[in-house]
């Protein structure tokens, strides 16, 4: 047998890593070159990037199509409010705790939802989100059905100077997006990532190779729930107000996120990034149209699913053969 080696990085992926580092450096410096409104918008963009990347890991790589991730977005938001208002926890620390709490609560929930197969799993996740929404609406300490506002003291507690405070909130958003992306990339490069790819292609075949389907899915579902909760905690720290309908909104936290992943390209790392950029470009230009804008989003998503199911990135990758993020393994034989 000729010796062979496994190669992962390509020339484009090394170039991408360099460009990504430069972009990251520019983004870290944003508080010094961007206006306050821009920082807020970037914070929102990073939240959606994180949500879409995490949803894509569930649906595109693990075969767990969820239409109920708003359960964790809302849970994280409420956890932040409860921690900051009642226990006086520092808001940025509360984001971390909210993430851990979200992962913990997902542990008993996942086995229940996994009893539902395929598409029924999707609707089961939605029922779960409704249970969360209706339950939080019953908690009068958190404002019941009408919701609560974050006391001003909590926000000023982050840092007394406005520039520092806004910069810290912005960096938190950036950190969450980078963490979500890094988590997905590292996971897919690990043994679990190989197992996931095998699972996606054939559950039966991968089980026969000794992959614990159930355990792998559980690990992914729980960690995605945790990171989604942390993202949700951030989203509502930035909004300063929470209500059951906003926290567990299927439109805001699932429809938009699915749209982002679909047009960008499901089952690719690059897809959600491109999708987020396209989504915000569309929103900044068309959002004044209101209901028509949402109908356009729905129609575009259907069209992409029917005509180009791999999304914009799928088309680019097919034409150019690019693979920007080195998660594929190539076998290289010496010439």
């Amino acid at each position: 047998m000729a010796g062979f080696s496994i190669q992962r990085s390509t020339r484009t992926s090394r170039a991408t890593a360099l460009v990504a580092l430069l972009v990251l450096a520019a983004l870290v410096a944003a508080p010094w070159w961007a206006g306050r409104a821009d920082l807020r918008l970037l914070g929102e963009i990073f939240s959606f990037l994180a949500l879409a990347t995490l949803w894509n890991l569930l649906a595109g790589y693990t075969g767990l199509v969820s239409v109920g991730q708003q359960a964790y977005v809302g849970f994280g938001g409420y956890a932040l409010f409860a921690l900051a208002m009642f226990l006086g926890v520092h808001p940025l620390l509360a984001i971390v705790i909210a993430g851990i709490a979200g992962a913990l609560i997902a542990i008993p929930i996942a086995p229940l939802l996994f009893r539902l197969q395929g598409a029924y799993f999707a609707i089961g996740t939605w029922v779960l989100a409704e249970v969360f929404r209706l339950s939080f609406a019953q908690v009068s300490a958190l404002g019941g059905g009408s919701g609560a506002s974050l006391p001003a003291g909590v926000v000023t507690g982050i840092a007394s100077e406005r520039f520092v405070r806004e910069a810290m909130i912005y960096w938190t958003a950036l950190a969450i997006a980078v963490a979500a992306l890094a988590f997905v990339i590292l996971l897919l490069r690990s043994r679990t990532g190989l197992a996931l790819t095998a699972l996606r292609d054939s559950e039966i075949a991968s089980e026969s190779l000794g992959i614990g389907i159930w355990r792998t899915k559980l690990a992914v579902y729980v960690s995605v729930a945790g990171l989604t909760s942390a993202t949700g905690a951030f989203i509502f720290l930035q909004k300063l107000r929470i209500s059951p309908d906003a926290a567990f909104s299927v439109n805001d936290w699932t429809a938009y996120v699915i749209f982002i992943a679909v047009i960008g390209g499901i089952g690719t790392i690059e897809g959600p990034i491109i999708g987020t950029i396209l989504f915000f470009l569309l929103r900044e230009t068309l959002a004044d149209l209101g209901t028509t804008y949402l109908m356009i989003l729905g129609a575009v998503a259907i069209l992409v699913m029917l005509r180009a199911p791999k999304g914009v990135w799928g088309i680019i990758a097919e034409r150019t053969g690019w693979s920007l993020v080195p998660i594929r393994r190539r076998v290289v034989f010496p010439q």
Binding site: A59, G60, G63, V65, V67, L112, R115, L116, G118, A119, Y120, A122, I123, G124, W126, V127, L128, E130, V131, L134, S135, A137, Q138, V250, N251, A255, I258, V262, I266, G290, T291, T292, L294, M295, L297, G298, A299, A301, I302, M305, L306, P309
Partner: protein, 287 residues
Amino acid sequence: MEWVNAIVQGILLGGLYALFAAGLSLIFGVMRLVNIAHGDLIVAAAYLALVVVQVTGLHPLASAVIVVPLMAAFGYVMQRLLLNPTIGKDLLSPLLVTFGISVILQNGLLATFTADSRRLAAGGIETATLHVLPGLNIGYLPLLMFVAAIVIIYGLELVFSRTSLGRAFRATSDDPEIAQLMMLDRRHVFGMAMALSAAVVAIAGIFLAIRTSFDPASGPARLLFGFEAVIIGGLGNLWGTLAGGIVLGVAQTVGAQISPGWQILAGHLVFFLILAIRPRGLFPRMD
């Protein structure tokens, strides 16, 4: 007697939920498709009934002669144009396409009819009641919905077991490729299944419009109720959807009896409870 009353009302409410569920169960049985837009189609049918009644002056129940064929035609076209290209590839595409249809339907209804909630007046039938015992009243409308659910499920069972269309449904469900070899056009069979589902949806929509007020955002909740009835009853069993609808209906009315805020929540919790103790539902028929 309050509790007996709550349970009786819940059983009757189960009829409506069985109607929500039957259409969902039918298309899942034939083509393994879960239609996320199912609830929005029910609400769209309710609005269609509203328009038909306003334009023609027909009695709301009689509007079915127009609403049912229109919805069935819409279902057929939707299946052929949008859903057939996605069937059989993977799980994701049909799910996301129906999700897109749901978003379009909801916002289309919102743009056309505004967010105001509407209701269809049916000339007194919605308030007429039968006094069975002191403290126990049975409304004509819930009774009519319950009977309609039984008749429709019986009718669907007959279609499945006795007609050539039903044979085509079963054959395509069992093995789409062999069915195709037997000269069954899969695209048409799926279209007919969706048309039949949409016809049931139309009747459910008319009843919904008479029973409660509705608005463009009411769809998702109907989808979830129908879905819960399917899972509680057991996959692939049409009579099971009636049982599931009754369990869900009773859970909701008993929950509402405890506290109004608990009505919907109690239904969801009973659903998860049954999922935990009987993951295949009460009367499973399909793997």
